[in-house]
């Protein structure tokens, strides 16, 4: 393969394809990655907008929303005042859109698609057409979810977890939610198969398992989680669809009373079944959100400390352990259902166990900083910001792992604060880090460091402004589902003044994304030109032309080195690319 000196572009290359084949129905993993990225960014913004609307109601309950309040129609916000049903829809759809349509497609669909084949030295994904099908299934799911806002009764309003029996008897939006979820599950199934097959089969010559960059390992474990954890939710979705459309009673107990009347169904089902099936997906899903983020951060920390990652193998084995354990922790979301103390004891043990590999990863990344000559570039700032934010998110999870401490905290803002620290200033910071880091490879231009630093520091401040007070409110007992932010509950009057502070922080967070958007579009057109390897990095994605052509590599690369061979003794430069031949 090394002597493959032929033409860089074979006959079937993308150059002579018409526009719609090249950019719309493309099978090139890089274009599909960008499609995922752009679509998911739109949903990220959309989901954020839903939350900003809710934050108005929480900060100023029952007051008309100025200026835009009347845009939402009398069915949702008569006179600009939000109705409870609309608030519930916003909450359910914020969660659904952020998890399934924004974050997972960004870290897995976008970054995974674009970077994984490059980092393993492959010409494309294993199954390019399946890859395209995966994107279009995702796109369809997104359209269905958006459409559900316009059906009678509005979008799904039973929470993002769609607990039955509430979801069984909810308005039509719930049916569309389920149909949308089936599309999204199909999409991630196709994606997961493709990622695993690609990583197993298409590693280039010399790319042994322990020469894989940690980002690829993280994506591999993520793909296994998606492959095996999503189907049970599909099964649950099918059963809930049956309950709603064929009037079965999978999740409906006998004698259920709704609005004072006994529901006319056969009964005999159990609502707990839905919870088990949902959280069997739901908990691995948490690691789907965080593992690729850890992968991105690892790449950037190695590159910007100019030294190898401390404990690379520990990272790999930790990721694998997380992958395994994440399948046996799900019922820690269900302590309040009265499963019995023995079951609870089992799940609190496994939950505490899974914190060990997570702490190993975080510790290895912290130790990697030690003694490095750190370059404080914008991607590095976001990667460094990730570490303490993920740390706060992880540590605040420990009281939720224990049965006794979880019960008073269950369904309060403490839980919201906990998992948002992991996903918002955690994963989203990693996403920003990844965008700043790989932007020059995608566009051939650098992003502005000055705007990037403004973006980082202000985002850091306002992220914490939103989520830190949630711990205070949660410990005082503010429930996550209250529509008035706690105004009508006497025992939380001491902490609800934080609502205004948090809402203003959220709106400010939206404003400080403006420098980022300017940076993104301005740099794409006018930014400083970047070389093929502007960060002096070692991994293979930087060994391609910029932007990488269809087929990626001019000559199939051969790998001789570990992924993070920075500052090797005896080397001429402070980085040794993986494909640099060993001198005899």
């Amino acid at each position: 393969m090394a002597t493959h000196s032929a033409h860089p572009f074979p006959k079937s290359s993308a150059h002579d394809l018409p526009f719609w084949r090249k950019y719309i129905f493309s099978t090139d993993h890089k274009i599909i990655g960008l499609q995922y990225g752009i679509t998911a960014s739109f949903f990220l913004f959309f989901g954020f907008c839903l939350m900003m609307l809710m934050r108005w109601q929480l900060a100023y309950p029952g007051q008309p929303l100025p200026v835009i309040g009347t845009w939402f129609g009398d069915a949702n916000m008569p006179g600009g005042i939000m109705l409870p049903e609309f608030y519930n829809s916003l909450g359910a759809m914020h969660g659904t859109i952020m998890v399934f349509l924004a974050i997972v497609p960004l870290v897995f669909g976008a970054f995974g698609n674009y970077i994984v084949p490059l980092q393993i030295g492959a010409p494309d994904m294993c199954f390019p057409k399946v890859n395209a099908a995966s994107y279009w299934a995702y796109f369809t799911g997104g359209v269905v979810m958006c459409y559900s806002f316009f059906v009678p009764g509005g979008a799904a309003n039973s929470g993002w977890t769609s607990y039955s029996p509430l979801a069984d008897i909810a308005t039509e939006g719930q049916t569309w939610w389920l149909i949308g979820m089936v599309c999204l599950i199909t999409s991630s199934l196709l994606g997961a198969i493709n990622f695993i097959a690609t990583i197993v089969q298409l590693r280039t010559k010399g790319m042994t398992w322990f020469r894989l960059p940690f980002f690829v390992w993280a994506q591999l474990v993520t793909a296994f989680l998606l492959l095996l954890a999503f189907p049970p939710l599909e099964a649950a979705g099918v059963m809930q669809l049956m309950d709603r459309l064929a009037h079965t009673s999978f999740f409906l107990p006998s004698g259920l009373v709704v609005s004072g009347k006994v529901l006319e169904v056969s009964g005999g089902g159990t609502p707990i079944l839905w919870q088990h099936l949902f959280w069997f997906l739901g908990h691995p899903e948490v690691y789907v959100l965080i593992l690729p983020a850890m992968g991105i951060v690892t790449e950037i920390i190695a590159n910007n400390t100019r030294k190898p990652i401390t404990g690379y193998k520990s990272l790999v084995f930790s990721a694998l352990t997380i992958g395994f354990l994440s399948f046996i922790v799900w019922a820690h979301h269900m302590y309040l259902t009265g499963m019995g103390t023995k079951v609870s004891a089992f799940f609190q043990t496994t939950t505490i166990l899974i914190s060990v590999p997570s702490v190993i990863i975080l510790t290895a990344l912290f130790i990697s900083l030690w003694g490095g000559s750190i370059r404080f570039t914008t991607p590095m700032l976001f990667a460094l910001g990730f570490l303490p934010m993920f740390g706060i998110g992880g540590l605040t999870g420990i009281p939720l792992a224990f049965n006794a401490t979880d019960i008073p905290l269950h369904d309060t803002y403490y839980v919201i604060g906990h998992f948002h620290y992991i996903v918002a200033p955690g994963t989203i910071f990693a996403i920003f880090a990844g965008i700043y880091y790989w932007f020059p490879k995608v566009t051939g231009r650098m992003m502005s460091e000055r705007l990037g630093k403004v973006h980082f520091w202000l985002s850091m401040i306002f992220m914490n402004g939103i989520f830190l007070p949630m711990f205070i409110q949660g410990m005082a007992g503010v429930s996550r589902r209250w529509y008035d932010g706690g105004a009508s509950y006497e025992f939380v009057q001491g902490v609800i003044h934080w609502n205004v502070f948090m809402s203003v922080s959220a709106w400010c967070l939206a404003l400080v994304q403006i420098p980022f958007l300017i940076n993104l579009f301005w740099s794409a057109c006018k930014g400083k030109k970047a070389s093929d390897n502007p960060w002096d990095a070692t991994t293979l994605e930087w060994a391609t032309p910029t932007p990488p052509p269809h087929g990626n590599f001019v000559v199939p690369p051969i790998v001789y080195h570990n992924p993070y061979d920075y500052s090797m003794s005896g080397a001429k430069k402070d980085f040794t690319p993986q494909n640099q031949p060993v001198e005899a």
Partner: protein, 196 residues
């Protein structure tokens, strides 16, 4: 650059791409049906009056369908083996039989469904009927999916035998793996729903 190992096996993994792909797909299918079987167990354990399957369903017809599917699995293997032995007309015969047996299975199944509907036994009547129709319905969808692929490989798709016989044999093998899985699911479904 062409994508490697689409036809040939990769030496260190011993697999061509699609074979790994179908095994991964089947792993996710195991989780899908596994979740439904687990739900069956949970619902049954929690139920005070779970009916005996044979008191509601037609066991002889179910047995017949079990035999039909097992036979179709054998003809599926024969179809693939014929290609390995470079006997294309035998392949056409056995693949055709596989598709026909799939059709027989669906016809028998639709008679069973029809009889249930005739007696006003709908999914909404009880949790037992709900899980019966959900499991067998999902399984029937898988049978249809397998038949569509097999019909393509029997008909227009078989032209590939002339141009790329190795790749075509691989395709039949992959389709066969899926067909065996569908058969295997029924082997579990039949006793769980009809006999227990």
């Amino acid at each position: 650059m062409e994508i490697p190992y689409t036809v040939k096996t990769r030496p260190d993994t011993g697999l061509f791409n699609a074979k790994l792909g179908i095994w991964l797909f089947l792993a996710s299918e195991v989780m899908l049906f596994g979740a439904l079987f687990s739900s069956y167990v949970l619902l049954r354990v929690g139920s005070p009056d779970w009916p005996h399957g044979s008191s509601i369903l037609n066991v002889p017809l179910g047995t017949l369908n079990t035999l039909v599917l097992i036979t179709s699995s054998i003809t599926m293997v024969m179809a693939w083996a014929s290609l390995v032995l470079k006997n294309f007309s035998k392949f056409k015969l056995y693949m055709g039989l596989t598709i026909l047996l799939g059709l027989v299975f669906l016809v028998v199944k639709s008679f069973e469904y029809g009889a249930k509907f005739h007696h006003h036994m709908f999914p909404k009547e009880s949790v037992y009927l709900a899980i019966y129709f959900t499991l067998t319905g999902l399984h029937a969808l898988h049978v249809i999916g397998g038949m569509v692929v097999n019909a393509y490989l029997w008909g227009p798709g078989s032209k590939m035998w002339e141009t790329d016989p190795q790749r075509f044999t691989n395709r039949v093998e992959v389709s066969g793996l899926f067909w065996h899985f569908v058969d295997l699911v029924w082997i579990f479904l039949f006793p769980v729903l009809y006999l227990l």
